[in-house]
């Protein structure tokens, strides 16, 4: 018994710690709409490359811009891109997964699943390269690229879970009651796969933050003057030898946000799907 309580505490701690970390960055992003210590667009060469002190809490960059303020506004970009990309994945992927499961074994199921495999063959970076070659680089490209990559993820996970639910007796009852396949999918299957979607959504959210940073770093994502953690790292690259804080701070912000979301995802999974507890821990 003591083992169970210690483990229960451990699982709970993951969730709380992850939630608090993620919340911290979400709040920082929201706060940046109304307040930042300094204006992020204001160039102040006299104060360039300052190390953290009482005025500039996290120092300044090569243009004298306050890094703390840039991290706050950068959080906005990262979180917005990742949330919309997850939204695209859920809104398109989930109905596809539900449809596929409801037509199990049919040509439509086969078509959707093979389509999924095909989209899976395009890593988000490759999609971003394609889109950039056509439309030029922008944060919107990053959203579309990561969003497209998320579609098969949600379609697969929804289909997998939905298939087992279709076998349950209450679905048989719904069929006997004369409900259509579409109605059963939305009224009975969807609510039962929701937990799984929430957990996967958290994980894809963290992957989205990493992907956005990577795309912005190589110049395929957010463009100046929009602050972004990935671009801050790209700017820092040539200055890392004499101003390492320019690289360390945005990198730490990315790591903490992703870590927070991953811990939250793990914690949520353990709570929402107790069957997984034994196999995972």
């Amino acid at each position: 018994m003591p083992n169970i309580s210690i483990r229960g505490f451990w699982i709970y701690r993951n969730l709380i710690f992850g939630f608090l970390l993620s919340l911290f960055f979400v709040l920082a992003a929201l706060l940046s709409y109304v307040w930042t210590p300094f204006d992020v667009t204001q160039i102040d060469i006299a104060n360039k490359l300052k190390t953290p002190d009482q005025i500039y809490w996290l120092g300044t960059d090569h243009f004298g811009r306050d890094i703390f303020s840039m991290i706050m506004v950068g959080a906005r970009t990262s979180i917005a891109v990742a949330i919309v990309a997850v939204g695209i994945g859920i809104i398109i992927g989930t109905p596809l997964g539900l449809l596929s499961a409801s037509k199990k074994g049919g040509w439509l199921d086969e078509l959707i699943m093979r389509g999924n495999d095909l989209v899976f063959a395009f890593p988000s970076l490759v999609i971003a390269i394609l889109i950039t070659a056509v439309f030029g680089a922008s944060a919107l490209n990053a959203i579309v690229a990561i969003g497209i990559f998320n579609i098969p993820v949600f379609a697969r996970i929804t289909r997998g879970a939905a298939l087992t639910i279709w076998e349950k007796e209450f679905i048989l009852a719904a069929k006997v009651a004369g409900k259509s396949t579409t109605r059963i999918s939305y009224e009975h299957i969807l609510p039962n796969v929701m937990n799984l979607l929430i957990v996967q959504g958290t994980i894809q959210f963290s992957l989205g933050i990493l992907a956005e940073a990577g795309l912005s770093y190589v110049g395929l994502g957010a463009q100046p003057p929009m602050p972004s953690w990935g671009r801050m790292l790209a700017d820092a690259q040539t200055m890392v030898s004499f101003a390492p804080h320019l690289a360390i701070i945005p990198g730490t912000a990315i790591i903490l946000t992703v870590l927070g979301l991953n811990l939250m995802g793990d914690g949520l999974r353990d709570i929402l799907d107790p069957k997984l507890r034994n196999s995972r821990s």
Partner: protein, 315 residues
């Protein structure tokens, strides 16, 4: 097995055809043709027409698509609009950096992940396991290009053990070339190693709970013997699948890492091509990346089905 392989092969061919179609036509809708971009806004219409003819841009799109695809089947990717050299040669030169980098990173991540995963699984719930799980959680959260910058800071700038970037070329010697790929490979490998150790751990834990392991123990084998003789071999099946899939992601990931270390690989080629609107190069590099992902999936599926007969009936 033969029927399964045949079905997967058909599916592979269809995927490749659709992928090539998507890549070609997405890029072909790009506003502004390469000829106008190369000649600038003051180009004479006659010069423009001549260049279009030279580059083959006056041929209808569907014909260009067919000739691009049939060309690729014979190893001919066309001619670069910017450099006027064969694209296959440009790609082949760059592959000599990108592919060894991906293989090197895969080796490192596997060599790191196996012992780490085994130690974590055999010490389940103990301090070592908790510490390893914490470290891997952190490893997954680290962006590889950031880790690369920190490695440059420590090992190139402070310790001066490695150069901060560039690639001397394989003709300068194996050791020098491998040395210049070491930091990039470690940067690519770290997050992958974190994922792989977790897969190794959970796969081994699943196997250790199986009845045949209990039987092996009951037969008189000690923990270590049952692990090495029975558990590891079976735990490796899902791990090998992940390793296969990781290779494709390492190829794509190397595009970003090449930017950090200024390596002349596929990544730098494609970014240069985008900025110069050398669309035929972009199409070909993207096709090669997608081809590698599809092929690796195909090989993984086949080898998985060869090991586990239950999977053959699923397709």
């Amino acid at each position: 097995m033969l029927r399964y392989s045949f079905k997967r092969l058909i599916s592979l061919i269809i995927s490749l055809v659709i992928a090539s179609f998507v890549i070609f036509f997405v890029i072909e809708i790009a506003p502004g043709d390469p000829a106008s971009f190369m000649l600038g806004i003051n180009a004479q219409p006659e010069t423009l027409a001549a260049l279009k003819e030279e580059l083959g841009l006056n041929i209808p799109k569907h014909e260009r698509y067919v000739s691009w695809v049939t060309g690729m089947l014979t190893g001919d990717f066309g001619t670069s609009y910017t450099y006027r050299t064969p694209v296959n040669q440009m790609i082949a030169d760059r592959m000599w950096v990108s592919v060894p980098l991906a293989i090197y990173a895969l080796l490192i991540s596997t060599l790191l992940a196996f012992p780490v995963g085994i130690v974590a699984a055999t010490n389940r719930g103990k301090t070592g396991d908790v510490a390893i799980m914490g470290a891997t959680q952190l490893g997954i959260a680290v962006p590889n290009f950031w880790f690369a910058m920190i490695m440059v800071l420590i090992f190139s700038i402070n310790l001066r053990w490695f150069s901060a970037g560039g690639f001397p070329g394989w003709d300068t010697g194996f050791f020098l070339s491998i040395k210049s790929l070491t930091l990039p490979a470690f940067s690519l490998a770290l997050p992958q190693a974190a994922i792989l150790s977790r897969v190794m751990r959970s796969s081994l834990l699943d196997v250790l709970n199986e009845d045949y392991i209990r039987t092996a123990r009951a037969k008189g084998l000690n923990k270590r013997q049952s692990l090495w003789r029975h558990a590891l071999r079976n735990a490796l099946i899902p791990v090998l699948t992940i390793i296969g899939l990781q290779f494709a992601f390492l190829m794509a990931g190397s595009i970003i890492i090449e930017q950090v270390f200024f390596l002349p690989g596929l990544g730098r080629l494609v970014f240069q091509a985008i900025s110069q609107r050398d669309l035929i190069v972009v199409e070909s590099v993207v096709m090669i990346l997608v081809f590698s992902v599809i092929m690796v999936n195909f090989i993984v599926d086949l080898s998985y089905a060869a090991v586990d007969p239950r999977l053959r009936s699923r397709v």
